[in-house]
């Protein structure tokens, strides 16, 4: 086990390094005038522009720049934002925004686990009857229709109906409710559909038929055998989902004007804010890779029959 953990950590490090290096080099392909804010570009003459670019360090060859990035990283310094929050340290920007995404994300994740797993159990329990049909309709709407559409209508109609504020206010808890629910809707659908699928698969297995035919009450079979085994493939995704709540949701945060992390990466990439992009890509890929790793460990913990050291082909829920 110890050797396996070490090997996996080594592999994770390689993956993260490749991701960061790839993004780093791709960013260096962008045009140079992207590093200016519009006013700066207009106000500077040619020499000032060159001096500015040299000062940023983007005129050196990319691998020198990468070396500088790594030595900064070793000192815990990820640089300063260029265009999105000019001259603010990247870590401060992230530190300021992350809590919003984190709290909304965790609340929504808790909500979607509770409601989604509940709905999944109901759908499996009453398969081909009303709860299953209603659940399927819900899942289909949420998963098939682009989320922008239903998120927009929820904001428009529910706020009008209940007289709630349209956007997020930090000091008015009532304005926190809709973003959290909106954030949870797709999670609920995800949990419900996969738990139902895994439970139905499990119910058809021989050991369940055997348990029923030897006279075990149906409730105990469902609770003790079917549900427990159906949860195993889902458990794998918990750590990653928890860790990546920090990334926030672009759509929901921008619809409700929440100052979270959601739109940060996209605006950083569009405005060529290299230090900010690099820091975010590093953060997200570390969390993503560590999340998968922890998920595998958790799965072994929950289901002792699974042996990790042999192969890596498992889990189909996506």
């Amino acid at each position: 086990m110890g050797a396996y953990v070490l090997k996996r950590l080594g592999q994770s490090l390689i993956t993260v390094s490749i991701v960061v290096l790839t993004v780093f080099l791709l960013l260096r392909l962008m045009p140079k005038n992207g590093y200016f804010t519009r006013e700066d570009y207009v106000n500077m003459d040619r020499d000032a522009r060159t001096a500015y670019l040299r000062n940023l360090g983007v005129l050196d060859d990319p691998f020198t720049q990468f070396g500088r990035f790594l030595s900064g990283l070793a000192r815990g310094d990820l640089g300063r934002s260029i265009t999105v929050y000019p001259r603010s340290p990247v870590l401060d920007v992230i530190g300021e925004k992350a809590p919003y995404s984190l709290w909304f994300g965790l609340a929504a994740l808790a909500l979607s686990m509770a409601l989604g797993l509940g709905l999944g159990i109901l759908m499996a329990r009453f398969k081909d009857r009303f709860p299953d049909g209603a659940g399927t309709v819900y899942v289909t709407i949420v998963r098939a229709i682009p989320s922008l559409i239903w998120l927009f209508f929820i904001q428009q109609w529910v706020t009008a109906l209940l007289g709630w504020p349209m956007v997020f206010y930090e000091d008015r808890p009532v304005s926190w409710v809709l973003p959290t629910i909106s954030l949870a809707l797709s999670g609920i659908a995800w949990y419900a559909i996969w738990l139902r699928r895994f439970m139905v698969d499990e119910e058809n297995k021989d050991y369940v038929k055997f348990a029923v035919s030897k006279g075990l009450p149906w409730k105990r079979v469902m609770r003790g055998h079917v549900l427990r085994n159906a949860l195993v493939p889902l458990v794998q995704y918990f750590p990653q989902q928890i860790l990546l709540t920090i990334a926030g949701s672009l759509l929901i945060e921008s619809i409700y004007s929440i100052p979270g992390m959601g739109g940060l990466l996209v605006s950083a990439i569009r405005q060529q804010d290299n230090p900010l992009v690099q820091a975010l890509v590093l953060l997200y890929s570390v969390l993503g890779v560590v999340g998968v790793f922890l998920g595998d460990l958790l799965m072994v913990l929950v289901d002792p029959r699974i042996k990790l050291a042999e192969s890596s082909g498992k889990g189909a829920a996506a």
Partner: protein, 310 residues
């Protein structure tokens, strides 16, 4: 206690003639995988209805622009025709440039469906080949897994912005950006399936019985993969159409003068406070298309599972 069999009259019996055709008939079931799949799929009226809806919408969106002869670039300076509410001439009203929403929606549907079809074709085509290699060639497994991890962790926006810079924003930029990460998901799915099928008991049995490789591939492996690939293609289409809406929202979608469902929805959303009907019709068509493809894809995947066959 021994009982003797009573005397049986010989005239009740006559010898059976040997019939070669009848002897051959035994032990052969008239089972066709595809016939059963389609029979199971078409048993539900919902599936038939949605399939018909897809066909009708696709045909209409490709035929309508042939007859409409609408000049999409025309600038209409007559403010009287701008932002009209639904009336007899314009059943769903007009947009901020005086263009008929009904007509725009058909043009937009054509663009979005074309986008969906192209992406589905490329994703599934590349994903199938890469996935089959990934599953069969054991040496490739580590490299492909690493590639999968890397691609999964690189934000799609990086590709999009860079491609928009290299290629100019447009149809093929979005296709390239979405395919650059989309194929590997399908490849992984195919790979997992290939591995399970390759080592499944019925294939081991088939191999032991000396079934030739060609027959193994065409009869034992391919039917399962083809159904999966059809399902993946059906599900990629609503996903691509939805992605286009999302990309339009963050300002990385198709250029604003290209008429697509994503652009129509985003414009309608921005004018929703003043002219709510501008959002209605594009949204209805968009939802009809994505939901139909989603349900048809899932139903087909259920029907293609032999365990659900009668």
């Amino acid at each position: 206690m021994i009982r003797t069999i009573p005397e049986v009259p010989a005239e009740l019996f006559r010898p059976a003639a040997f019939d070669e055709a009848a002897a051959e008939r035994t032990g052969y079931a008239r089972y066709s995988y595809w016939r059963s799949t389609f029979r199971t799929f078409l048993k539900s009226p919902v599936s038939i209805f949605l399939l018909a809806l897809i066909v009708v919408l696709t045909t209409a969106s490709f035929v309508y622009p042939l007859f409409a002869h609408m000049d999409l670039g025309a600038v209409n300076l007559d403010t009287e025709t701008w932002n009209l509410s639904p009336n007899r001439d314009h059943v769903f009203g007009t947009d901020g440039l005086g263009r008929d929403i009904w007509a725009l929606t058909w043009y937009g549907t054509r663009t979005s469906l074309l986008l969906g079809f192209v992406i589905a074709l490329l994703d599934v085509g590349i994903g199938m080949i890469a996935g089959a290699l990934w599953g069969y060639v054991r040496k490739l497994d580590r490299i492909m897994t690493e590639l999968y991890n890397v691609l999964n962790n690189i934000p799609q926006t990086v590709f999009l912005v860079l491609l928009a810079y290299i290629m100019r924003p447009g149809f093929w930029t979005i296709v390239t950006a979405l395919c650059s990460t989309g194929w590997i998901g399908i490849a992984r799915f195919v790979r997992n399936k290939v591995i399970t099928i390759r080592d499944a008991e019925y294939n081991v049995a088939s191999r032991c019985l000396g079934t030739p490789l060609r027959r193994m591939i065409t009869k034992n492996v391919l039917p399962y993969l083809v159904s999966i690939l059809i399902m993946e293609a059906a599900l990629t289409i609503p996903y691509s159409i939805g992605s286009e809406v999302f990309l339009g929202f963050i300002g990385l979608g198709l250029p604003i003068d290209t008429i697509s469902l994503g652009n129509l929805v985003n414009q309608g959303k921005n004018n929703f406070m003043l002219y709510p009907y501008q959002l209605t019709w594009p949204t209805v068509i968009l939802a009809a298309i994505t939901v139909s493809f989603y349900i048809v894809g899932n139903r087909f995947s259920d029907a293609s599972d032999p365990r659900n066959h009668v």
